[in-house]
């Protein structure tokens, strides 16, 4: 048997750290990288007598995400206690949502490398708190605990087991990452743990309706590792199944250095989290007015923008995808089109000249030396043929280097406008033809390659400012009219 005999079934649980200044149930800061325990309040420490107070920004972000994936926002959701003992969770339980999550039944459309699209179901997304950090290395027979991260708000996004390959899983995770960053639901900083994936992987024979036994690989924090961890699990499980064995349902960890997954040390007894409703928090009721008010504040979604760019601006899918992926860039592009008119030309200038300049000088878009209005002006001048694309580049570079304050002034000061005036061009062309009678005869005898020679001569006379299209027309007319 081979890989193709097996159907791979993958479901992802993605923990997204919500982008809020304060924690989910306390007024402590969530700032990354602070001194150990300097942002762990009495609530985060689980000191006796404290009560959690729900941070309003947390449900705002969750609703925003829910609307972003067309999900159902539950009008009533309930917090629960998940009980377990571990020193980085000093209360002895994690506050999460079990039976009544805030978000249910969403959908995400992913695009695969072969260009096809696939819809992936999102079962649910619920709010919960993060745990602190354990540092095992630096202390003899002791563990150091930093509770700064304890109480950081998380949204756990659970997919349906709709994913069929590591490629699909990575495309799904990347989509979520893109969406939460785009909507400012999360900063999406994976190096700081703002997005962590747990991958549930199982195999079954094609056509089987029953799912195979799955393993859960926890805490994968990069797309590359997600792909590697899933590929490793697929090969490992296939080997077991093909040799007649059975996959053990277990939790595993991915070791990026050895590129393998290993079972986490499992306790002798299966863990029982003894969930029950959190008595310290009231049920959360989100009414339709609230949802509508969030919907009104939501920016246009990347997919909607992408579709609009293709429909309204006739961009190709590649340009539309590139320009709609980032709000700031999309806004810049649209401002260029507002002034410049020609969207495809604008797309080209933004993607090529602007991006090249930003990359070369390592600048963020917000600090681009050429404003969208100036670039739009240049494109309008190319459009009305008052300057050529080549001259536009010269002007663009001058603006970039701050050698000019406005495109208009620079074009005027350096006399760069194309000579499109027939009355101005015609005598010049006649003069060049008169001065080169021999070449004119050769052209008329069939040596049409000489066209370039004439154009070159005229361009020289006009310092490159003759409108090439018009020049060609008049020139041909004169050469052909004997």
């Amino acid at each position: 048997m081979s890989r193709t005999d097996w159907e791979v079934v993958i479901g992802l649980e993605i923990h997204v750290q919500l982008l809020t200044a304060a924690k989910i149930f306390s007024g402590a800061s969530t700032q990354f990288g602070a001194l150990p325990n300097s942002q762990a309040s009495a609530v985060d420490l689980g000191l006796p007598g404290v009560l959690p107070v729900l941070n309003p920004a947390v449900y705002k972000k969750a609703v925003c995400f829910g609307l972003g994936i067309g999900a159902k926002i539950n009008h009533r959701s309930v917090f629960d206690r998940k009980n377990y003992f571990y020193p980085d969770s000093p209360k002895g339980y994690q506050i999460t949502q079990l039976d009544y999550p805030i978000i249910e039944s969403g959908e995400i459309e992913i695009t695969l490398s072969n260009g096809s699209n696939k819809t992936i179901g999102v079962t649910r997304a619920h709010l919960e708190e993060d745990a602190g950090k354990s540092l095992h290395e630096n202390f003899l027979n002791q563990t150091g605990i930093d509770l700064n991260r304890a109480g950081t708000p998380l949204l756990e996004i659970v997919s349906e087991p709709d994913l069929r390959s590591s490629e699909e899983a990575v495309a799904y995770a990347k989509y979520i990452h893109h969406l939460v960053t785009y909507l400012s639901v999360s900063d999406g900083n994976m190096a700081e743990g703002s997005l962590r994936c747990d991958a549930n992987v199982s195999l079954r024979k094609h056509g089987d309706s029953k799912l195979g036994t799955r393993t859960e690989t926890k805490n994968v924090n990069s797309f590359r590792f997600l792909e590697r961890a899933i590929e490793f699990e697929i090969s490992r499980q296939m080997e077991i199944l093909e040799s007649g064995g059975r996959v053990t349902q277990e939790t595993r960890l991915y070791d990026s250095e050895r590129d393998e997954t290993r079972p986490m040390r499992s306790k002798e007894t299966a863990t029982d989290y003894r969930y029950f409703p959190e008595p310290d928090l009231l049920p959360l009721y989100i009414d339709q007015n609230y949802i509508d008010s969030i919907r009104q504040q939501m920016p246009e979604l990347p997919d909607q923008k992408n579709t609009r760019f293709i429909a309204d601006y006739q961009l190709n899918t590649d340009d539309a995808g590139y320009l709609s992926a980032n709000t700031e860039l999309a806004n810049y592009f649209e401002s260029v089109v507002d002034t410049g008119g020609n969207a495809r030309l604008a797309a080209n200038w933004v993607r090529v000249e602007l991006m090249a300049g930003l990359n070369r000088d390592n600048l963020p878009l917000s600090e681009a030396p050429v404003s969208a209005t100036e670039l739009g002006f240049l494109i309008a001048r190319i459009q009305d043929q008052s300057i050529s694309g080549k001259i536009a580049k010269t002007v663009f570079e001058a603006l970039w280097r701050n050698e000019a304050t406005s495109a208009q002034d620079f074009i005027k000061a350096n006399n760069l406008s194309q000579v499109s005036d027939i009355n101005a061009l015609e005598p010049l062309i006649s003069k060049v033809l008169e001065d080169n009678i021999k070449q004119v005869e050769q052209f008329r005898a069939g040596k049409t390659k000489l066209m370039g020679f004439f154009v070159g001569q005229i361009m020289k006379q006009t310092q490159g400012k003759a409108n090439p299209k018009q020049l060609n027309e008049i020139l041909l007319q004169k050469l052909n009219s004997n």
């Binding site: 304060a22 942002q39 920004a57 020193p87 002791q142 150091g144 009231l282 049920p283 009721y285």
Partner: protein, 99 residues
């Protein structure tokens, strides 16, 4: 439903309770009594009753729109760590745990 000694021992372990063998029977009996009471209550028909998740007749009020929440806490690490058995480099120290 009745539970056995093994289940009681497991619950004790999950709750990090040190339960001597000789007390197991005592706890087993009293837990089984509680379960019996629960069983009686389960015989009530609750088909159309929504499970109650909080006894208070109130709901979480939605706050005015906020993008960040409110940072109200400053650093009280020194005060909190005064009551900790052991600390080092700002960290709380606990017996070694790996899992």
């Amino acid at each position: 439903m009745k539970i056995n000694e093994e289940i009681v021992a497991n619950i004790a372990e999950l709750a990090q309770l040190d339960m001597p063998q000789e007390q197991l029977q005592e706890y087993l009996d009293s837990l089984n009594n509680v379960l019996e009471l629960a069983e009686q209550m389960q015989s009530i028909d609750t088909t159309d009753v929504e499970p109650m998740s909080n006894p208070l007749d109130s709901i979480q009020h939605l706050h005015a729109d906020s993008d960040d929440g409110f940072v109200t806490e400053s650093n009280h690490r020194e005060r909190y760590q005064k009551v900790a058995p052991e600390t080092e480099q700002g960290l709380y120290l606990v017996p070694k745990v790996i899992d």
